[in-house]
């Protein structure tokens, strides 16, 4: 996935000279995960900037750059660090179009790795997407595989609105996948059916999609046909894809890494109950992080959604 992300940025920078990359360690070092590897060498110091260590500064200056004609791609080194830039994201970037009644837009992309299971220190693994889906004006994109990552990132870069592009750290080098060499786009707001099924719908995004797909494949052998939907994008949301699947299966599980209470899964569950309650045969099940701060490495595997919890959830749904 990391190569797909790198290629998307490189190809877009070749296409559009207004695109610049800025963030901590994104220059010489090519990013702590090598997402921006080689960009400084290819595009030079006028396009790729190692910034001072200041998250609010990175986002705040990106806003000024964007309103004056540039297309910044900013990196927040780990999503847990984004709290220091919350005002600039949620109260500034998100609102500029609204505040100026349409005179200014803020076409910035904020890339950030997130997600657990990789034994990081505190505040490196938190899944914080719900903070941003609750901030009108932002778009939130969360890819789960290399192909989607490239197409979605190119769409995000070409978008006229501020986009948070959240990259599951655990999937950066988890598996290889054929990715088209030429640039391509995947529209923001289109979910993908990862696996079709008739008995249960599993809705997920980002880091937990491969896990859900793996469990669904295993359940197939036990005679359970689970459909897996990868939302890919939380804002805008592909509600039609969700409702279509719910109406088919009548049983819904939502899987995400973020803490359960107030997580985006709650929003998905609420939308389903508003629009397809009578298609449901069982109460909706949510498998999510527990309502605690993201824990330490020694216990994180038991904190994160895992196969055992998903299987248990499916069994619960099928009991009805």
């Amino acid at each position: 996935m990391i190569e797909a992300i790198n290629e998307a940025m490189r190809q877009e920078m070749e296409r559009d000279p207004r695109i610049i990359v800025l963030g901590e360690d994104v220059g010489e070092n090519g990013g702590v995960f090598r997402a921006t590897d080689g960009l400084l060498a290819q595009f030079g110091e006028e396009r790729v900037f190692d910034t001072p260590l200041a998250e609010s500064g990175i986002i705040g200056t990106s806003i000024g750059l964007a309103i004056n004609g540039m297309r910044p791609i900013a990196e927040i080194q780990f999503l847990g660090f984004v709290y220091q830039a919350m005002d600039q994201l949620a109260a500034q970037a998100a609102r500029i179009r609204f505040r100026s009644a349409g005179r200014f837009s803020c076409p910035i992309v904020v890339r950030s790795p997130y997600g657990g299971g990789v034994r990081t220190p505190e505040l490196h693994s938190d899944a914080l997407e719900a903070l941003f889906t609750h901030s009108p004006g932002l778009k939130v994109v969360m890819p789960s595989n290399p192909y989607d990552a490239k197409g979605l990132l190119i769409s995000a870069i070409r978008d006229e609105d501020p986009v948070l592009f959240l990259e599951p750290m655990k999937l950066y080098r988890a598996f290889r996948m054929e990715v088209l060499e030429e640039p391509y786009t995947i529209p923001l707001g289109q979910a993908r059916v990862v696996k079709e099924g008739d008995d249960v719908t599993i809705i997920s995004w980002g880091a937990t999609v491969p896990l859900a797909a793996k469990v669904a494949a295993e359940m197939e052998a036990k005679g359970v046909s689970a459909e897996v939907i990868d939302l890919r994008c939380l804002q805008p949301l592909d509600l039609d894809a969700i409702i279509a699947s719910v109406e088919k299966t009548g049983r819904v599980m939502i899987v995400h890494e973020a803490v359960k209470t107030g997580g985006f899964g709650a929003e998905v569950a609420a939308l389903i109950s508003e629009r397809a309650l009578f298609a449901l045969s069982a109460p909706i099940v949510r498998i999510a992080g527990y309502d605690t701060p993201y824990p330490v490495p020694s216990v994180e595997d038991d904190w994160l959604p895992n196969a055992e919890r998903i299987v248990e959830g499916i069994e619960t749904l099928l009991r009805y």
């Binding site: 001072p52 200041a54 806003i63 000024g64 309103i67 540039m70 005002d87 109260a91």
Partner: protein, 359 residues
């Protein structure tokens, strides 16, 4: 070792509070320029006083008056080109008027209209910032873009003494100096952040000296002396345009009125202090100079004030007469294109509007 007590920051002043100054320095300003600066300051004062009264009459919403700060605002704005960018806080009304904001536009803002912060497309002013110091970073980014594009424009961040305590101010100063971008940090030190006085805000003897820590030039100027403010700003802007990087200007001034119309300053300021600052009024000293030179009379003053009052009335009436937005419009400026769920909410609102229209 570095001892802040040994640091000496001198204040730049050309015209003192009695309208006196060094004749050679004064000679650099034409009669025409002095008259223009005075008229702009007087216009700003009349507008400010009218807005305050209109708020008391319930004709406009919350308002943050700037009386006392006219020299800092007009003097700095006079040194800018039309293409330069301004990033204002909520107290920079005089700056914005000087830089091309139509007065009618400001009435849209204080009447709480959706279009209130939309400047005309050709006016390079960013929407008024409410979050203290957030705009300093936007100014740096904007200046950075000018530099990358090879354009000769300067960006100016306007903020107050309280803003210098915010993290964004420090991040902005640091980024500006590291990337050597054409930005001016223009601080109006009016000595109060709502009720909190300067000495509780910072242990620095001056705000100007904070520039040192970032490897940037800083200057302290008498913010009630429009000549000194203009001259200082002009030098800073010219240096930035030449590629010499950012500068921090501290304009020492005083807010004669309340923080906003929702505030009672007698709770935290002694009347004697306010009276002392009234004697340093930025308009008074320039008027003394103009009258001494025979450039301005009582009759001219009265006629000019009446003319500005008419202008205010006309702008207010034009704003009132123009079409106000409705709840339907709030959905249009969230995204470039409304996502489906947002569009549904707009439809719902429109249906309700239509129904109530039928009734």
């Amino acid at each position: 070792m570095f001892d802040p007590d040994q640091l000496s920051v001198e204040i730049v002043q050309i015209l003192d509070e009695n309208g006196n100054g060094d004749e050679r320095q004064l000679a650099a300003f034409s009669d025409e320029w002095l008259l223009r600066a005075y008229r702009e300051m007087r216009r700003a004062r009349v507008i400010d006083e009218r807005l305050l009264r209109m708020q008391r009459q319930g004709r406009i919403g919350t308002y943050a008056p700037f009386s006392g700060q006219e020299a800092a605002q007009i003097g700095s704005a006079l040194a800018l080109h039309k293409d330069d960018w301004i990033f204002p806080s909520y107290r920079e009304v005089a700056v914005c008027l000087m830089h091309g904001m139509p007065l009618e536009q400001f009435f849209h803002y204080v009447q709480g209209r959706l279009s209130g912060k939309r400047m005309p497309d050709e006016v390079n002013i960013f929407p008024t910032q409410i979050i203290i110091a957030a705009q300093t970073l936007h100014a740096v980014g904007c200046a950075w873009a000018s530099k990358l594009k090879g354009e000769p424009h300067v960006s100016v961040a306007y903020f107050g003494d309280g803003a210098t305590s915010e993290g964004d101010f420090h991040e902005a100063m640091n980024f500006a100096a590291v990337y050597n971008v054409p930005v001016i940090f223009f601080c109006q030190n009016n000595q109060y952040a709502i009720s909190v006085p300067y000495r509780k805000q910072t242990a620095s003897r001056t705000i100007a000296q904070k520039a040192l820590a970032y490897g940037m030039k800083g200057v302290l100027v008498d913010g009630n002396d429009v000549l000194a403010v203009y001259e200082t700003m002009k030098q800073a802007v010219e240096a930035a345009r030449r590629g010499e990087g950012p500068m921090l200007i501290e304009a020492l001034t005083y807010r004669l009125g309340p923080h906003t119309t929702a505030d009672d300053p007698t709770k935290y300021r002694r009347p004697e202090e306010v009276e002392t600052w009234r004697t340093k009024d930025p308009l008074h000293r320039l008027r003394v100079l103009l009258e001494r030179r025979g450039l301005w009379t009582e009759a001219q003053e009265d006629a000019f004030v009446a003319q500005v009052n008419d202008e205010v009335t006309a702008a207010y009436e034009a704003a009132i007469a123009s079409k106000s937005g409705s709840i339907v419009d709030v959905f249009d400026y969230v995204y470039s294109e409304a996502p489906k769920l947002l569009a549904e909410q707009k439809d719902e609102v429109m249906r309700r509007k239509q129904r109530s229209g039928v009734r």
